[in-house]
């Protein structure tokens, strides 16, 4: 019996864990490590030069700014949507609730061509912006639209269960002590949902940073203006610049790992607050 696990009467531990580790290594760990070994061949100087090229930095700026804007939009409206779904009832609520997950289920390429069609200057929505001389599709605004779509479910789904758990008694107590509805929200409800809101925001932000499929159709993809970092990786690959692609990929991967770490911390924080 191996010493690193506690005794159990159930069978299958060696088979199950052995297969899990083998499959995890073959599919995820070895391929991911290939990326780091490849970039190690560059050395620190070479990596730094490639990862901080002007076009790379510009693409990272576009990626981060648009992802941030989309995540903020989703945090604001996601809170309203979660609120409405938890607190009010209206006809068709179940369908609306199910539809919130559409961005998880709809392939990103479909979302991309559809949003590009809607927000093009001649499109159903784009024409109203065009009338005011605002271009949405084929500009960074278009990227924000696509990333808002992609990130829409995260805030709703993280805030919904927490909002449902806020105890009515606490709200009633606050109200009976003379707090207005807005005060109750600001002092009682918002502090309770705040960690979940932040978690949802971070999840939407992290997802947006890596997103590719929905963005490339609506972005216009102009270097330095509307070119996102994942697209630059593809562009480098198409020119057989494997080193350049690898350097950006490593940089993005490190950013993603930092985000994952932050999100785990946030989730731990919000679950701890939830069980006070």
């Amino acid at each position: 019996m191996s010493r690193f696990r506690a005794h159990s009467v159930l069978p299958g531990f060696n088979l199950a864990l052995g297969f899990t580790l083998l499959y995890l290594s073959l599919v995820v760990l070895i391929p991911l490590s290939a990326l780091f070994f490849k970039s190690a061949a560059l050395g620190w100087g070479g990596f730094f030069d490639l990862a901080t090229g002007e076009r790379v930095l510009a693409s990272l700026r576009v990626t981060f700014l648009t992802s941030f804007a989309a995540a903020v939009l989703n945090a604001l409206f996601g809170l309203v949507v979660a609120w409405v779904l938890v607190r009010y009832s209206f006809p068709g609520k179940r369908i609306v609730d199910a539809l919130v997950d559409l961005p998880f289920a709809l392939p990103t390429a479909v979302a991309g061509i559809t949003l590009a069609t809607l927000y093009a200057p001649s499109g159903w929505i784009g024409q109203y912006f065009a009338a005011h001389d605002i271009k949405v599709a084929y500009t960074p605004h278009g990227i924000v639209v696509a990333l808002t779509f992609i990130g829409l479910p995260f805030v709703v789904r993280t805030v919904q269960p927490v909002l449902a758990d806020v105890e009515a008694e606490v709200e009633e107590a606050a109200a009976s002590l003379g707090a207005g509805r807005w005060d109750v929200f600001r002092r009682v409800i918002f502090p309770a949902v705040y960690p979940a809101l932040l978690t949802g925001f971070a999840l939407a932000f992290a997802r947006a940073i890596g997103e590719y499929g929905s963005v490339i159709f609506i972005a216009g993809n102009m270097p330095f203006i509307s070119e996102i970092a994942p697209l630059l990786i593809v562009a480098k690959l198409e020119q057989y610049d494997y080193m350049g692609a690898t350097a950006i990929a490593v940089l993005m991967l490190l950013i993603s790992f930092a985000m994952l770490f932050a999100i785990n911390g946030l989730q731990w924080w919000s679950s701890r607050r939830g069980t006070r």
């Binding site: 506690a6 009832s89 997950d101 990103t108």
Partner: protein
Amino acid sequence: MMSGYSVPRRISTHESRSVTLLLIAMALGYLVLFLGLPLYVVFHQALSKGWDLYWEALKEPDAWSAIKLTLITAAISVPANLVFGIAAAWAIAKFEFKGKSLLITLIDLPFAVSPVVSGLIYVLLFGAQGWFGPWLQAHDIKLIFAVPGIVLATIFVTFPFIARELIPLMQAQGKEEEEAAVSLGASGWQTFWRVTLPNIKWGLLYGVILCNARAMGEFGAVSVVSGHIRGMTNTMPLHVEILYSEYNFVAAFSVASLLALLALVTLLVKSLVGWQAKRSGEPLHHGA
């Protein structure tokens, strides 16, 4: 308390009617703008030139081969990740061992990786310039810009779906029932089929549906490894891209409408499974 248009759920304190209506209008407006309208536009565009052109686009040989490749890819990657998900959940939920939380974090890793990077890592491994490239070429095996690369990249991006559904579910259920079965003389497989599986069936189905939707719809990762050879290495999302970039919008949206239908079916089954699970008291892990 009177109930007008809005029925407050369990609280006696609630917003004024105008605030309630404003919030509902804001929420629905947002959802219609970002979800409802795009969904409608897919079908509207696909049928904008009539049913004949719609069927034409779907009957085309390249579209057919894209549909077939998408189905093949899902038929390989979903079962592979299903077996993995069950094995991982069994080891993690039913046993105590060191490094468990690290293992759970590692299983979630593919969700943190950009789809484009997910494709790139396989190019770096198996591409002509990659680690195994020369060896593969010497043996005349083509993985990248071919079907195996597409399947591999799809397995990577859908890797966590079923495992992360089953792990919390099986952890919450504990191991008393299995231990009872084993001590009464049941074998490991009997215990799994007769005790564990009936307990996790809804969670399993839930994970499979989400995994399948992503497997059929993945674009970025597959796009990097596919090589975009028409009729050979094009999945449905890649075929949509090619048609769209050729300004063949009706055909692009026709194929896209099939994927949108898949998304709607996914949402429908997902909701049904969620309600079933709630009724049978099986707690589902709601998430991406």
